[in-house]
């Protein structure tokens, strides 16, 4: 089970010992290596058959320093992929590549192939505005526009030219708020400012705003870290419902949240993608020691 997950240097002794009667035991030990072991490539199954987003050999630099090292990953259609890892591991940087949010950061350079339904995300002819309509984003802190609840949701469809007539907009606003699980709470005060809502409601408003432009993918960067447990539970429930229609990539510091909402989990460490596996596998029997150490709280 393990020799494949080791780097080349460690695989050799394990193979040698495989012929000896004590192979079983040595294999168990050799798998462990140590938590400081090198990451050579990604273990598990980073690829899938029905990929909505396909990333190959992605490297990201901030000026001289490299934030992402040779990451390859598929995000399947109608799938929730959770990205976990300690602070500074590159998971947010990687997420922000998927709709080119890093373009706005000076000195940021993205290399490698990234494609959405086979179309290059960093292609020369790609206009980032429609790209970001297809790949929406929800941020850590709820950031509603200083506008009415209605206008927060209607803004996107208006500027993207999805709808202009009031009746169409009304429908989109209601639908989006309904899907975000917020409609009943705000239907009587759509003209009130979005900033007047509670934190959890604001975050659901941001999700409604993201889905108002009918995206195909929703990126979420720690969407619940500023919310209380009840608001968090609502968002998690919502993520599960949204999966029917959207592909979702979520960065989270809460491992329990990753375990609850995602089908696949990707573990990042120092800019490298260490392991990608079914969420169940990652949380019960991860392949890599670094994953195990992180999810069980063994980091120093």
């Amino acid at each position: 089970m393990s020799t494949m997950t080791l780097n080349a240097g460690e695989a050799v002794p394990a193979q040698k010992e495989a012929t000896q009667p004590v192979a079983e035991q040595t294999e168990v030990k050799s798998r462990a290596a140590n938590p400081n072991s090198q990451v050579d490539g990604t273990v598990g199954s980073p690829f899938c058959d029905d990929a909505k987003l396909r990333m190959r050999n992605v490297n990201v630099f901030y000026g001289e320093s490299q934030a992402i090292h040779d990451v390859s990953l598929d995000i399947g259609r109608n799938q929730v992929v959770a990205m976990i890892g300690p602070s500074g591991c590159g998971k947010s940087t990687f997420l922000r590549c998927l709709n080119r949010m890093n373009d706005t950061i000076e000195g940021c350079r993205v290399e490698g192939e990234l494609s959405l339904d086979g179309e290059a995300i960093y292609g020369p002819k790609v206009d980032v505005v429609p790209l970001r309509a297809r790949v929406g984003m929800v941020f850590q802190k709820p950031n509603p526009f200083p506008k009415s609840i209605y206008d927060n949701v209607a803004y996107g469809p208006k500027i993207h030219g999805i709808a202009s007539r009031r009746a169409e907009l009304d429908e989109i606003v209601e639908n989006s708020l309904r899907r975000a699980g917020l409609w009943n709470e705000v239907k009587d005060r759509l003209d009130k400012p979005g900033t007047g809502l509670s934190g959890g409601q604001q975050q659901r408003l941001c999700i409604a705003r993201a889905i108002a432009v009918s995206p195909e993918v929703i990126l979420m960067d720690e969407p619940c870290s500023a919310l209380d447990p009840i608001a968090t539970a609502r968002i998690e429930e919502l993520i599960d419902e949204l999966r029917e229609n959207y592909t979702i990539a979520i960065v989270t510091h809460s491992m329990q949240q990753a375990a609850r909402v995602s089908q696949r989990t990707a573990y990042f460490h120092l800019g490298k993608l260490v392991e990608v596996n079914d969420t169940e596998t990652v949380f019960t029997n991860p392949e890599h020691d670094l994953t195990e150490a992180y999810i069980t709280g063994r980091f120093g």
Binding site: E24, Q25, V28, F283, T284, T291, T296, G297, R298, G300
Partner: protein, 231 residues
């Protein structure tokens, strides 16, 4: 995966897991002693020792409840994952098996009392001795394999259950012959039969413990003949 349960950021978590494991292994020690005492009581017609086994049984029940409670608290407070989770799950399962081994030991002790009351030593003690030695060793080795996270030894111990089952079946045939030869011995031989049955069950529980060693170390559930799950 090398098993380290002492490297958490939280020292309290290290201690909680360590003491959970220790509690279960102490329970294992107690249960192992019970089996030995019960068989001893039977072989030597020692009803005093048999009574002692019945008393200690209550202590084992208490152990199981304590292990369960502590495991539940760890789950509630720490939400263990990966090897930590498997450790907690395996401890809960093993404690359950150990409690049942304790029950079987009590049954044997009751047989010892019944047989002592009847006075004469029935035939069939050789079979009991033989199978008792085998399952006691299995139980010891299984707990030992758990302590050392030793999958290889667990698999070897697990494989011995087949021999125990075979010995059990041939002992049963033997007992049936005795009963046919001498119908007056039926009630006594029945007691021997129940004892053999209890010993055979203890072998099954030892096997279950071995399976939990594999689950803990490898994350593979090989129960119910699913050894193919071991990658």
């Amino acid at each position: 995966m090398e098993m380290h349960f002492d490297q958490h950021i939280s020292r309290q978590f290290n201690e909680d897991l360590e003491s959970l494991k220790t509690e279960m292994l102490e329970m294992g020690g107690l249960v192992t002693r019970q089996v030995a005492d019960a068989v001893e009581a039977l072989a030597n017609a020692d009803s005093e020792l048999a009574e002692k086994v019945l008393q200690v049984e209550e202590e084992i029940d208490r152990c199981e409840m304590e292990v369960d409670e502590h495991a539940t608290l760890i789950i509630a407070k720490r939400q263990p994952a990966a090897s930590d989770l498997r450790m907690v799950m395996s401890v809960i399962r093993i404690a359950r098996d150990l409690e049942r081994v304790g029950d079987e030991a009590s049954k044997i002790a009751k047989m010892a009392i019944a047989l002592t009351d009847e006075g004469t030593a029935p035939r069939g003690y050789t079979e009991i001795r033989h199978i008792a030695n085998a399952v006691r060793k299995m139980l010891n080795d299984a707990l030992d394999a758990y302590t050392r996270f030793d999958v290889k030894s667990a698999m070897e111990t697990l494989a011995k259950d087949e021999q125990v089952d075979m010995d059990y079946r041939s002992a049963i045939r033997e007992m049936v012959t005795y009963m046919m030869e001498d119908p007056r011995s039926i009630s006594r031989v029945m007691n021997v039969l129940w004892t053999l049955r209890s010993l055979e069950r203890i072998g099954d529980h030892a096997k279950n413990i071995c399976e939990q060693v594999v689950y803990l170390v490898k994350g593979a559930d090989i129960r119910h003949g699913n050894e193919k799950n071991m990658r």
